[in-house]
């Protein structure tokens, strides 16, 4: 992959030197290539109609493009059929959909890990409060990686659903997905992966994994904000009750009841962000063109550099395993006693280095470990070693001064 050529696709990266930004907040939201922006604009400039309702040519064109995107996402995930792809607003909505649509009883147990994003923790907390089901927490190992043994201990026949972040937004650590799915299925339970941090960075083959649900967002994988995907195995989707209902979810209704459409329509209530979904399709195409091998290689190159360069820093406390290979593109750390927001603001002031600071919506983990927060630098394939060098140089200065 020619990084410099790729960077030219991203309008925000066009400015170089002191005028340019060093964007290392990709775990929050990625930048968008021109292809995605053009696709969104294309919708508003050329079609701008609704899909699946009107019969005119513009509506037909939008329906065709949406169908194309659904098929592209299904292919992206290697799903069995495109009807397994539900358009959502984001990962959070996808997880909430499952939390509301799945039958869970008071004897059931939901398992999550101890470092879930709030979006994969709170829906299950509310579900257990609503139904009387129990919520089990799988503790991580000391280096924050997934503890399969602890997980196995918690797995029993009462477990209805295992909901795990595929790749943690806290430290970039991915879980052993294949083993987890197998172990869970062996106990007759279902698996949902929060793939918000995984889908942009690695290939997820749902058929090969045999995972039941996967939720992710468009905005972290070059797509527009306000777009997301929920994958669900078709037979499961068929059994599930709808989450939000309304226009587009039924074939007919009377004053007494209605007849729901089959998935995915029964989960896609109301008018969607058509421009966004078409943009998401362009993002998927762009990612496939770049290729996940190249993406992973570049992220590893950057994270290796960061880890090596900052390894000897006496005050930097890395969150997650020491080996960069286990942390994707994320380098998350804290300086004991120093407000992480201060470091982030200083990085921005010093060299327009954009990183995330705080608790990254993983409050539960930070509270458990009594850490105020962390600074998270998250690289993507368009970041360069030169940018990483600037980050390291600034961080070293900050470390000396604070």
């Amino acid at each position: 992959m020619d990084v410099e050529a790729v960077r030219r696709d991203f309008p925000i990266l066009e400015k170089n030197g002191a005028d340019g930004v060093i964007y290392l907040d990709n775990a929050c939201q990625s930048l968008r290539p021109r292809a995605v922006i053009d696709a969104i604009n294309g919708y508003y400039l050329t079609t701008s109609a609704c899909s699946g309702r009107s019969m005119h040519r513009l509506a037909e064109e939008v329906s065709r493009q949406l169908d194309q995107t659904r098929a592209a996402v299904a292919s992206f995930l290697n799903a069995s059929r495109k009807e397994e792809i539900i358009f959502t607003r984001n990962t959070t909505e996808g997880i909430n959909l499952v939390a509301h649509a799945l039958d869970v009883g008071e004897k059931d147990v939901i398992l999550v890990s101890d470092k879930e994003h709030n979006s994969n923790l709170l829906p299950w907390q509310l579900l257990t409060q609503r139904t009387g089901a129990a919520l089990g927490i799988v503790s991580s190992l000391d280096d924050n990686s997934f503890d399969l043994a602890a997980f196995e201990k918690l797995l029993d026949d009462r477990v209805k659903l295992v909901c795990l972040g595929y790749t943690s937004n806290l430290d970039g650590v991915s879980i052993p997905a294949r083993e987890i799915v197998k172990m869970t299925h062996d106990h007759g339970a279902l698996v949902l992966f929060d793939a918000a941090q995984a889908a942009p960075h690695r290939r997820i083959e749902v058929k090969a994994l045999d995972v039941d649900f996967v939720a992710f967002s468009g905005h972290k994988m070059l797509g527009p904000s306000g777009t997301g995907i929920l994958f669900g195995k078709y037979p499961l989707l068929e059994q599930m009750r709808p989450f939000m209902v309304g226009g587009g979810t039924v074939s007919s209704s009377t004053y007494e009841g209605c007849e729901f459409l089959p998935p995915p329509e029964k989960f896609e209530a109301g008018l969607h962000d058509y421009g966004g979904i078409i943009g998401l399709g362009a993002a998927v195409a762009y990612l496939q063109r770049i290729g996940f091998d190249a993406i992973e290689r570049q992220e590893l190159l950057l994270n290796r550099y960061l880890t090596e360069a900052l390894r000897e820093s006496p005050r930097i406390r890395l969150i997650g395993p020491a080996a960069p290979e286990l942390r994707g593109g994320i380098f998350s750390f804290h300086l004991p006693g120093i407000d992480p927001h201060r470091i982030a603001l200083m990085l921005d002031q010093m060299a327009k280095v954009m990183v995330r600071s705080g608790q990254h919506c993983v409050h539960s983990w930070f509270n458990k470990h009594s850490i105020a927060g962390s600074v998270r630098a998250s690289a993507y394939f368009y970041n360069t070693i030169e940018e990483a060098e600037v980050f390291v140089r600034c961080l070293r200065k900050i470390e000396k001064v604070l």
Binding site: D339, H341, R342, I343, A344, L345, M346, L347, D348, Q349, M350, A351, K397, I398, K400, V401, L402
Partner: protein, 322 residues
């Protein structure tokens, strides 16, 4: 402490740029919480400190380290400086309101509200090169026989004395407002004509002659002379027309104007005026205060009726009220 200082500065900056308004709002929230002994939750001070450190560190790590370690102390120093300059600025504003100059009455140093120093400009009388030229502090009415000069509204309790000349541009600027103010405030008004410009001696003599004949017409003549173009003031033809306008016979008046005794009287009056040690026109005496240069109307009104003169009514009345 940093929040208070920042609030003051950002509030001012916020007037000019929306960018600073939200910061000022954060600073205000921070200040309000601090004064009620609650922690600042916006993280305003932390945010600002980080931004400042981020900028300083690029220039000097040592300075950034010093700033980081002594931020609270520096915030105090900064606060005291801001407080000091705020007090100083407020004083300047007050002085400008009361005296027309930020630095005090008749002070000619730079004032941001009067950058050109227009409120202190005078038409200099030729003092020549004196070892100790007079200053505003030397000006006095003691020993000056004011009864020799015309007075408008003689029943008034307070008095405004204006030393000026018909052809002096700064006198022309304030004559009408002062006369109107005296009328509105029921004060005596004396105009002491000191022809600084040689070309206005005809006007001085004309005024003297009209005053001798009819005091009421003298004030009307003044209005005509101050309204006329300066180059007309020494034009006999214009003087004749002015006399006609006042219903006076120019044949009779012209003789008076040319009478050397009248010029001698004008000269004596000038000698009397010189006793005030004034050094430029306009110079205005109100009570114990002396105003050199054309001040805004409110300055004279304050001198007459105090800071809250507008509460006593007048509302900038333009009535002649003689």
């Amino acid at each position: 402490m940093f929040c208070i200082a920042a609030l003051l500065i950002l509030s001012v900056l916020g007037i000019f740029s929306a960018r600073y308004r939200s910061l000022a709002k954060d600073a205000l929230d921070c200040v309000l919480r601090r004064v009620t002994l609650r922690p600042c939750i916006t993280g305003f001070d932390e945010k600002m400190k980080s931004r400042i450190l981020g900028r300083v560190i690029n220039r000097s790590e040592r300075a950034a380290r010093f700033l980081n370690r002594n931020f609270e102390l520096l915030a105090w120093v900064f606060f005291i400086l801001v407080l000091g300059s705020t007090v100083y600025a407020a004083r300047g504003l007050y002085l400008f309101y009361v005296t027309g100059s930020c630095n005090g009455l008749n002070q000619e140093s730079f004032c941001v509200f009067d950058p050109k120093g227009e409120n202190n400009e005078v038409t200099d009388i030729s003092q020549g090169c004196k070892e100790n030229p007079p200053t505003a502090a030397d000006l006095t009415l003691k020993g000056v026989d004011l009864s020799r000069f015309p007075v408008c509204n003689p029943a008034g309790k307070k008095e405004i004395v204006l030393i000026g000349c018909y052809g002096c541009s700064y006198t022309r600027k304030i004559y009408a407002p002062l006369k109107e103010l005296a009328a509105a405030r029921g004060a005596r008004f004396r105009f002491l004509d000191y022809p600084v410009k040689v070309s206005t001696t005809l006007s001085a003599r004309l005024a003297e002659c009209v005053y001798r004949r009819d005091e009421a017409r003298y004030w009307q003549l003044n209005d005509i002379l101050f309204a006329a173009a300066p180059e007309q003031l020494d034009d006999p033809e214009f003087a004749g027309k002015a006399a006609m306008q006042l219903g006076l016979d120019w044949g009779d008046l012209g003789g008076c104007v040319e009478d050397p005794a009248v010029q001698a009287l004008v000269d004596r009056r000038m000698d009397e005026i010189a006793k005030t040690r004034f050094y430029g026109t306009p110079t205005v005496f109100i009570g114990n205060q002396v105003f050199v240069g054309p001040k805004p109307r409110r300055v004279y009104a304050i001198a007459l009726d105090g800071l809250f003169y507008w509460l006593k009514g007048d509302g900038g009345s333009r009535s002649e009220g003689r």
